[in-house]
């Protein structure tokens, strides 16, 4: 089980020498628990800190504050021997697969590499595992003997997925894994992920902004805004009865075939500059429900009886009204 508590990561942006450098919080006070066989989806706009949260959870970055525990032990510092050994249990599926593969290495060699790095199995066993992983993502033998640039975007993405699953990790972070795939392949890859999850008790952190995919795969959803989690809970609850105004806007933006006259909540303006976050609730400048309190007091996460958490002062009133 992977658990992180009050994770924060900020970057210093150096200004001109006469001004103090500014701090930008990419991730702010995020706590997430990833039990085995569970999928948690992390949704939010670009720049909301989803990817950084994923990297922190895998221990690829060191948080400024907070910590990450894997089965009760804290993750070691990046680059150390222990950290290297741990890599086979924590895997990342990359957002830009072509950049993540060595252009001078054949697909099958790239997929075999984690096994070679961690000294898993004999050459024959490795070949079997590689074959199984490639088959699971639907790549043929002929395709796997090619170089990355000779394959299509979707095929490369599946190769990266095969490389991540070949060591049978306990936790897999999928960073927008489907954005390069067409719908038929999405379904195939999705099924592969779900099957792997069942077979190997794998926990998945699924980073996406496609709520339809999230609905299919995730047991739980966390919504991020400006580096913070603003709403979290079981997928059904969060997507069907969103409490936070931001989540409502996200959910209303999903087009549904045949649903005419669906009320779409259009968010005003862009997300604020993360180096100068607004006072109070970070969402209040774009929120239609904002009251005076929202401008001065930042809401903490409150959890309902059904296990749905929300960071909003006015949320429950709105939710009760719609019930």
């Amino acid at each position: 089980m992977l658990r992180c508590v009050n994770l924060s990561l900020s970057y210093r942006i150096p200004g001109p020498f006469w001004r103090k450098s500014t701090r930008v919080f990419a991730v702010n006070d995020v706590s997430i628990t990833l039990p085995p066989r569970q999928t948690l989806a992390l949704v939010g706009e670009s720049g909301s800190g989803k990817s950084t949260t994923g990297r922190l959870l895998l221990g690829l970055e060191t948080p400024d504050a907070g910590y990450v525990m894997l089965n009760g032990t804290r993750l070691p510092k990046p680059g150390t021997r222990r950290w290297q050994k741990l890599r086979k249990r924590l895997q990342l599926v990359y957002q830009s697969p072509l950049a993540a593969l060595d252009a001078r290495m054949k697909i099958s060699d790239a997929v075999r590499e984690p096994l070679a790095i961690h000294n898993i199995g004999t050459p024959q066993e490795r070949a079997l595992k590689v074959g199984a992983a490639l088959e699971a993502v639907g790549l043929t033998l002929e395709q796997s003997s090619r170089y990355p640039h000779e394959l299509s975007g979707g095929q490369v993405q599946r190769a990266v997925l095969a490389r991540a699953m070949v060591t049978e990790p306990e936790v897999m972070v999928c960073d927008e894994p489907m954005s390069a795939l067409d719908v038929s392949v999405q379904a195939q890859v999705m099924n592969t992920l779900l099957e792997m999850q069942k077979r190997m008790r794998m926990a998945i952190l699924f980073i996406s902004h496609d709520l339809r995919l999230v609905r299919q795969i995730a047991h739980e959803v966390a919504v991020m805004y400006l580096g913070r989690i603003v709403e979290q809970g079981p997928t059904e609850l969060v997507l069907h009865r969103p409490l936070h105004p931001y989540t409502r806007a996200l959910v209303s933006a999903v087009p549904v075939i045949g649903a005419r006259g669906q009320q779409r909540i259009v968010l005003a303006g862009d997300p604020p500059d993360p180096s100068r976050p607004p006072n109070g609730c970070p969402f209040h400048p774009r929120c239609s429900l904002a009251v005076d309190r929202c401008r001065v007091d930042r809401p903490a996460l409150r959890t309902s009886a059904e296990g749905q958490s929300v960071a909003c002062h006015v949320a429950e009133i709105g939710a009760e009204a719609s019930r």
């Binding site: 950049a99 252009a103 590499e113 790095i117």
Partner: protein, 278 residues
């Protein structure tokens, strides 16, 4: 794709033909006895080449001591090319290693390597060479080491910047995130990926080193007699330029053709090794 092929690159074909001819001659030179190269025959000194009215024993004429020009030319090509080849390889190794160390260590070590690179690039190499030769005397090993210092900074820059790029985002960081150790990342991933630019950088350095060796030998600081090199031949022929111009012209032509050939091949390699990504 097709225009990268060697078939369409006439310059590279000529270059390769000349290099093969040279390698053949060098192989011939290795079987030649030292006597023949050093054989002094004062009765037949300063004979012109065959086509300028010389005899058929010394096809390319003789020098001021009656030694056969053809034999000495072959020996010189062997020595000059040998020094340049060893020095280029050594320089490539030093430069790549320094670049990788800088890219991996960052911080103080990186600053140090960059300082050395800037020093090398900003001080005229001839001055460095003269100083070192004056202090340590001359030997063929020292001379090769010295020549290898020429061009290492370019290789180091290429290796450093490309390794940093790969480390920042991309295949190298991805492999690290799979748990690979530093050796594996550099030897199995970064090196094969940047081999192209490094080879091109080396083909740039090789003719420069031939010229540098020739220059130093011409000045009398490089290869010492009785050993000979192309530059040394030009240097000793200088005194006889009005009575026996072939003594200067023949080794000069060999230098020109060799450096030109390598440059032509380098041009083609640069196109041919360019990354084929979408």
């Amino acid at each position: 794709m097709a225009n990268r092929s060697l078939r369409f690159h006439v310059g590279a074909q000529i270059g390769i033909a000349w290099i093969i001819l040279m390698l053949g001659l060098t192989a011939l030179g290795l079987t030649m006895s030292a006597d023949y190269v050093l054989n002094i025959d004062l009765a037949h000194r300063l004979q012109p080449p065959l086509m300028f009215g010389g005899n058929s024993v010394n096809i390319l004429g003789t020098d001021e001591l009656g030694r056969d020009m053809a034999a000495r030319l072959i020996k010189s090509i062997e020595v000059s090319a040998g020094i340049a080849f060893c020095a280029t390889l050594l320089g490539l190794f030093i430069g790549t290693a320094a670049g990788f160390v800088a890219a991996e260590a960052r911080g103080v070590l990186d600053q140090l390597v960059q300082g050395l690179i800037d020093f090398q690039a900003s001080v005229p190499f001839l001055i460095i060479a003269l100083t070192l030769l004056a202090f340590f005397g001359n030997s063929i090993v020292l001379f090769v080491c010295l020549m290898s210092l020429h061009g290492w900074e370019r290789h180091a820059r290429v290796a450093r910047s490309m390794a940093m790029e790969a480390n920042a985002l991309g295949y190298a960081s991805a492999v690290r995130q799979l748990g690979a150790n530093t050796m594996r990342v550099y030897a199995l991933h970064i090196l094969p990926n940047i081999a192209g630019p490094l080879i091109v950088s080396a083909t740039l350095a090789f003719p420069e080193i031939v010229l540098l060796e020739s220059g130093l030998s011409f000045l009398g600081l490089g290869v010492q007699p009785p050993l000979t090199s192309l530059g040394a031949m030009v240097g000793f022929g200088r005194d006889y330029i009005d009575v026996a111009p072939w003594m200067v012209l023949l080794p000069s032509a060999a230098i020109l053709l060799t450096t030109l050939s390598i440059n032509l091949v380098g041009d083609w390699l640069q196109d041919w090794l360019a990354p084929r990504r979408r």
